[in-house]
Symmetry: C2
Subunit: 335 residues, 2 copies
C-alpha cells in the first residue's frame, strides 16, 4: 500500500503513454472515464476474449518490453482470429513490480502502438497496479463477427480433414534456445525460432475467411496435440495425425534432424498461435485458393475419425510407417 | 513452466468450479470454447470495464477467498453502476501462486456464485495461470446502457449540487483496523467497518436511475476528494465540499469522535464504491424520491463552482466554520 516505485503516478502514466493509444476510438473517451462503450457493426456480434501472461511463466523477465506487450496482445488476437472475428479493441490490466521504471513502460507502450497499427485495434480501457511479485499483463480483446457465424471448437465431423496454418513447433524450440541453451545448426535458425517464441503471428487475415469453410477451429496455444484433443472432445470425435505431414519451418527441421527427440517438444510445446481446424474434403480446393490469397500456408495433417475406433485416446499421431507415436505430455499445463 | 502446485489442472478447475458459473448465458458456450459472444439488447450499447486486484496490495493475503472473489467482481460492477449501466457478464483472469489449494479455489468460486445470484451476471470466459508472486484477480465486466446514455465524468456545470450515495470512509477505517490495529469504541462498529472494506456494495440499483438526473458521475475508489477532483478536471470546473455534510456511518462517526485525525483518512482513503455525482438544483426533488425508492441514502455535500474562484486546487473542503481543510494526500495512488 506504499509508494515503492520510481514510476510516475497512474494518471501521468495514462496521459503520457496510454491515452495516445485510445485516439480514434470514440467509446474509449480518451481513457478519461471509468468504462468504455463498444457498439458492434450492424448485423454483427461482439466477441470477447481474455488471456493473461506472467513474467517468468509466459515470458522471460529480460524479454524486451515492447515484445512482451505485443505478445500479450497477439495471443488474444490469435483467439479472435481462430473464431473468425475481426479484432477491434482491447483493454489492459498492467500489474508492475517496483523494479519496473518509466523507460520500461514507454517501451511497452511503443510495442502496443506498433501492433495497433498492424492489427487496426485501439486501447479502450484498463488499470495499472503495483505488485510485490512479477509483471502480469492481462489483456481483454474485442472483435466482431457476422451474427451467429462464430467459428467453434465444436463441429468436427467424421471424415473431415485436419489442417494447420503456418508451421508448428518453432516457438517451443525458440523457448528451449532461450531457457535451456538448445544448440541450433546456425545463428539464423536460432534467431528465427526465438522470434517465433517472442512474437506470435496471429492469423487475423485467415481466420475470418474460414467462416463457411471450416467445421471446427482453435488456435494452438497449449500444443498441436493438446489443442486437437480439445476439438475432438467437444465435437465427440477422434483424430489421426500423420507426423510426417506436420509443417515444420526449415529452422525447426534442421533442429529436429540434428536431434530427433526434439520433435515431440515441437508438437506438444505450445505457443504456436497457428489456426488448427477441420473441414470437409469438399473444401480442399477453396482452402488452397484461400491460402494463396492470404499468403499463409495451410497444410492437411490428418483426418477426423469416429471415437470408437481409437485405442490411444482421442488423438493418435502416426509416424511415416503408420506406427503410433507416444508423447510423455500432450501439451502445456497451466499449473 | 513447471507444475509446482497442488491444484488440479486448468481443465479440471474449469469444469468443476467455473463452467457452472457460465450456465444460462448462451454466448459463454459453457466455457468450452476460446471466446465469448455478447449481443447487447436492441437500442443498447455495450459497456466494458476492467480492474485487477493484487494480494497484499488491494486485499490481505488471509482475507477469505469468497470475499476476495466478490470484491474483485464488485469493484467492477461499481464502475458499471456509476456509468448508468446494468451489469450482464464478466470474464476472469485468475493468477495463482503454488500455495493456493483446491479448497481456496472452491471457496473463491462459491463467492462468485453468490454474487452472480445477487447481481444477475454470468461468468463468460477467462484464464487461469500460475505465478511465483501473489494472487492477481483481473475481472472485466460487461454491462449495457441505452444507446448514447452512458453517464460520464464530464458534464458537471457551475451551480450543480454535489451528491454522494451511502456513507463515506467506512472502508478506509476498516482497513486501518485490519492492517494497523486501529481501536474502535465497540466490536459491532469494528465488524461493520471491516465488512465495508472487504465487501463493497456496488450501487447497481441507483446508477442506471441517475440517467437524465445526474450531470457527471464517478464511483469512489481512489477517495472522495480525489475522485471529485477527477470529475472537476474533465468537466473543467471546481468544487466546494462541506466536510460536516459528508455522510458518515454511526461506526465511522464513533471512530472519528474518538480520534478526529481519522476524518482525513476517511475522506481520502478510497475503496468506498459509492456513487459521487453532480446534478442541477432542479433535480433535488427527483433525487429525494429516487433515494427512497431504491433505499440508498443520497446526500448533498457541496456545490460546483467556477475554476477561477479557487485558490487551493479544484476541490476545497471546508469545515463547519467555513475554513479550508488541507489533506496531506488527496487519495489512493496506484504506485
Amino acid at each position: 500500500m506504499t509508494r515503492h516505485s520510481t514510476l510516475p503516478g497512474e494518471f501521468q502514466l495514462i496521459s503520457r503513454y496510454f491515452a495516445p493509444l485510445a485516439k480514434g476510438f470514440p467509446g474509449a473517451f480518451g481513457l478519461l472515464d471509468d468504462a468504455a462503450v463498444i457498439v458492434p457493426a450492424a448485423g454483427h456480434d461482439l466477441v470477447a476474449k481474455t488471456d493473461a501472461i506472467v513474467g517468468g511463466v509466459h515470458f522471460l523477465p529480460d524479454d524486451p518490453p515492447d515484445l512482451v506487450a505485443r505478445k500479450a496482445l497477439r495471443v488474444n488476437l490469435s483467439d479472435l482470429a481462430a473464431k473468425g472475428a475481426i479484432p477491434r479493441a482491447y483493454m489492459l490490466d498492467l500489474v508492475l513490480p517496483g523494479s519496473v521504471d518509466e523507460e520500461w513502460v514507454a517501451a511497452f507502450a511503443r510495442g502496443l502502438a506498433q501492433d495497433q497499427g498492424e492489427y487496426g485495434v485501439h486501447l479502450i480501457g484498463g488499470d495499472t497496479d503495483s505488485t510485490p511479485g512479477p509483471i502480469v499483463v492481462a489483456i481483454m480483446a474485442f472483435g466482431e463477427v457476422a451474427s451467429g457465424q462464430l467459428l467453434r471448437r465444436r463441429g468436427a465431423r467424421v471424415g473431415d480433414i485436419i489442417y494447420v496454418s503456418g508451421t508448428v513447433g518453432d516457438a517451443a524450440l525458440g523457448l528451449a534456445i532461450l531457457r535451456d541453451g538448445l544448440a541450433t545448426p546456425d545463428e539464423i535458425s536460432a534467431a528465427f525460432l526465438v522470434e517465433r517464441y517472442r512474437l506470435p503471428l496471429p492469423r487475423v487475415a485467415l481466420g475470418p475467411r474460414l467462416i463457411a469453410l471450416a467445421s471446427a477451429t482453435i488456435d494452438i496455444s497449449d500444443g498441436l496435440i493438446a489443442d486437437l484433443r480439445h476439438i475432438c472432445e467437444v465435437s465427440d470425435v477422434a483424430a489421426i495425425v500423420e507426423a510426417s505431414r506436420i509443417p515444420l519451418s526449415p529452422a525447426a527441421r534442421a533442429v529436429v534432424s540434428a536431434d530427433p527427440a526434439r520433435l515431440a517438444a515441437a508438437l506438444t510445446g505450445g505457443d504456436d498461435y497457428e489456426i488448427l481446424f477441420t473441414a470437409p474434403p469438399a473444401a480442399a480446393g477453396s482452402l488452397a485458393d484461400l491460402a494463396r490469397e492470404v499468403a499463409v500456408p495451410i497444410t492437411a495433417i490428418g483426418r477426423v475419425t469416429a471415437t470408437a475406433t481409437e485405442s490411444h485416446g482421442r488423438v493418435s499421431t502416426l509416424n511415416a510407417m503408420g506406427e503410433p507415436l507416444l508423447f510423455s505430455t500432450e501439451g502445456w499445463t497451466h499449473f
